[in-house]
């Protein structure tokens, strides 16, 4: 077996230097310290993304993106296709878990200052991936064409329409017309299965390349302790030690996904009726709740701006600051940890949690 493996590797090495990859893996190490556990969330997010791709491809075999057929095709998958219920429920649950682990990954990177020089690009590609993942969630939510999804999309796209000058154009571009119709469904389907996956693959490749190139970041506190000789610089080989631990986590995630799908199959709801009034208590997916709740608190007019636009402007500015944090907190690159940025992170996390809880109240 080892001989066959060696011969295959040798064949590949002669063609594109595969030996260097093996060499890289052999020597790649992962730092070991009290925060090592947070390293697993990036891999977990990647694993869930792969699950999304695989289950998404299977759903594509049956899904039909038209207002007349979308709901019925998902219903058919849930009731008639063998294991269709499992595939669709896993796809929906996995999407939510992926967004959750992506947020955990992002905040762990933030609090451990892993964005500091020279990993600014890793942070930026990661943040863009997080926005894409939320875009996947928003576009995929409409695809079953059920009542909740229909009205949530209506509200969500209306927000885009409140932006001055380009708002109207953006709304028509997103909806494919003035209203949420079959054109919106086709458009969202296109975003969900072609545009966003294309962009995500590109960014993911860049993100992974940067991670491999720069290695795992050691938190400044640990780095300092090692520098001062208070702590030994420990590490473990990436292959197989870290990878096996990663796989353990992936198996656990698979178990959780299976349990959620079997015990709480993802609801289908009722077919969207564009002429029906919006149901009471309509709200977006949990990861948009903090924005939704904030917009509810903002008055109709803020100075000279429309309230909704002022809210979106504030969120846009906050997101821009968040993406640019490696450049703003450039002192972290020199090992100087400022409490302000840690406090800002705690505030952001607390704000999101409190606002989401208030929205669900």
């Amino acid at each position: 077996m080892t001989t066959v493996y060696r011969r295959v590797l040798s064949w590949l090495d002669e063609r594109f230097g595969a030996g260097s990859i093996e060499e890289f893996l052999r020597h790649k190490t992962v730092p070991v310290h009290r925060h090592t556990v947070w390293y697993y969330f990036g891999g977990m997010t990647l694993f869930l993304f792969i699950i999304q791709v695989l289950t998404g491809i299977l759903l594509l075999l049956y899904y039909r993106p038209t207002p007349n057929d979308a709901f019925e095709s998902v219903q058919y998958v849930m009731t008639q296709v063998r294991f269709g219920w499992l595939i669709r429920s896993v796809h929906s649950w996995s999407a939510n878990l992926m967004i959750f682990t992506a947020f955990v990954h992002m905040f762990s990177v933030y609090f451990l200052k892993a964005y500091r020089k020279p990993r600014e690009l890793t942070w930026i590609t990661g943040m863009l991936l997080l926005f894409l993942v939320m875009g996947f969630g928003f576009s995929g939510y409409l695809l079953p064409w059920n009542t909740l999804a229909f009205f949530a999309t209506k509200v969500g796209t209306e927000m885009a329409g409140s932006i001055p000058v380009v708002g109207k154009w953006l709304l028509i571009y997103l909806r494919g017309g003035e209203e949420v119709t079959g054109a919106t469904l086709t458009r969202f389907f296109g975003f969900h299965v072609a545009v966003l996956p294309g962009l995500a693959t590109l960014l993911l490749a860049m993100h992974l390349l940067l991670v491999q190139r720069l290695g795992m970041s050691v938190p400044p506190g640990v780095e300092k302790a090692i520098g001062e000789g208070r702590q030994p610089a420990r590490s473990m080989p990436f292959f197989p030690n870290f990878l096996l631990r990663d796989i353990m986590g992936w198996y656990a995630a698979l178990g959780v996904l299976g349990a959620l799908a079997a015990i709480f199959p993802w609801e289908l709801g009722t077919k969207a009726d564009p002429f029906a009034p919006a149901p009471a208590g309509i709200h977006p997916e949990w990861y948009f709740l903090f924005m939704f709740q904030t917009l509810r608190y903002i008055p109709a007019k803020v100075i000279f701006l429309e309230g909704e636009f002022a809210g979106l402007l504030a969120f846009g500015a906050a997101a821009a600051v968040w993406v640019a944090v490696p450049f703003i907190d450039y002192k972290a690159g020199f090992g100087r940890v400022t409490r302000f940025f840690t406090g800002l992170g705690v505030f952001a996390l607390g704000y999101m949690a409190v606002m989401s809880a208030l929205a669900l109240r």
Binding site: Q75, W85, L244, Y251, G255, A259, P265
Partner: protein, 413 residues
Amino acid sequence: MKKILVALLMLVWALIPAAARGDTDSCITCHSALEGKLAEPAKVFDQDIHHQSGLTCADCHGGDLHDDSLNAMSPAKGFRGAPKKTQVPEFCARCHSNVTFMHNFNPKARADQYSQYLTSVHGKRLKQGDTKVAACVDCHGVHNMLPASDTRSPTNVANVATTCAHCHANAVYMKGYGIPTDQFARYQKSVHAETLAQGDTSAPTCTTCHGNHGATPPGVSSVPNVCGTCHVFFAQLFEKSPHRAAFAKLNLPGCVQCHSNHEIVKPVDDWVGVGPKSVCANCHTSGEKGYTEAEGMAQDLAKLREGIERADTTLDTAERSGMEVSSARLELASANEDLVKARVNVHTFNEAEVRKLTDQGAGISTKTHEAGLAALHERDVRRKGLGVALITIVITIGGLYLKIRQMESPPRS
């Protein structure tokens, strides 16, 4: 040609409100300065439909609105004054029975109110000199009359019952007429009043069944016709039923016999059959064909109702378990439709007609119940599969853990 033009100009002049023509109305000017009852018309007339349509006090009461002396009210100037109660219908009818005149204001305006009124109990009694009965102004108001489409009007569909109740629910006022005064209280408990209160203005009020200007209580023979104007299908079934001839023979008032009249509550299945709440048992006794039919119809309805409830409970449990049973739910809705149709068919008073539909519905409810059971079975299979998968996953994780430990344990010396 000239004459036609002059006539047209005069008509246009007449239709322009006095104020708009720049004229002063001496009636309003003087009455506004008066006190009490005499000032009242001047205060409220600007809201009146007549004023809104450009008519003046003088158009009804005569006199000269351009004369600001008391001469304005001289008979020589055509002053008629206020009519006596017995004169009111004719007073209004001078215009309202004139189709040509009324069509100047509304091409669809009716002009038969007076002739209808004369056929009503109110009209007949007024002719006999009974001034307690309703004349036009008692229902429509006076000097502040609003169109019936205005929700503030006493003749608006939402207010008609209260308007009629003003007299008909007053036991003291109605004393001597020998008719009950609880109609309004009973109507308020009815499904008709409930529907109207919910904003459905097509729901019946007093005038829907009794008529408005020609208000007459429906006679025994006309009851199915009155109810049948809305409940067409029920009336057709009743017409063809054996009850039609039997009720006529016994001089019983059709629909009202079982459903009552003013207090028409939502019917329940217990009314059918021979139980304590049954209306059939009021007439039919054991051993009669009608009794057997009633008993059979009640059993048929109960069987379907129970079948639907059973299927509904099973589907509910399946839904709470997260199973997708919307197709079965949709099918069960058609069993419910069969139950509704079977309830309608009760008015054939023929058990076979009811059973036809209840059997059809029962078949559907059984099928959907089975679909619910199959979904629950599927749920159990999934959970068992999950158990097996979880055990496999835990074993694999355990194996990986042991492998890592083995790899990372220090080599034995």
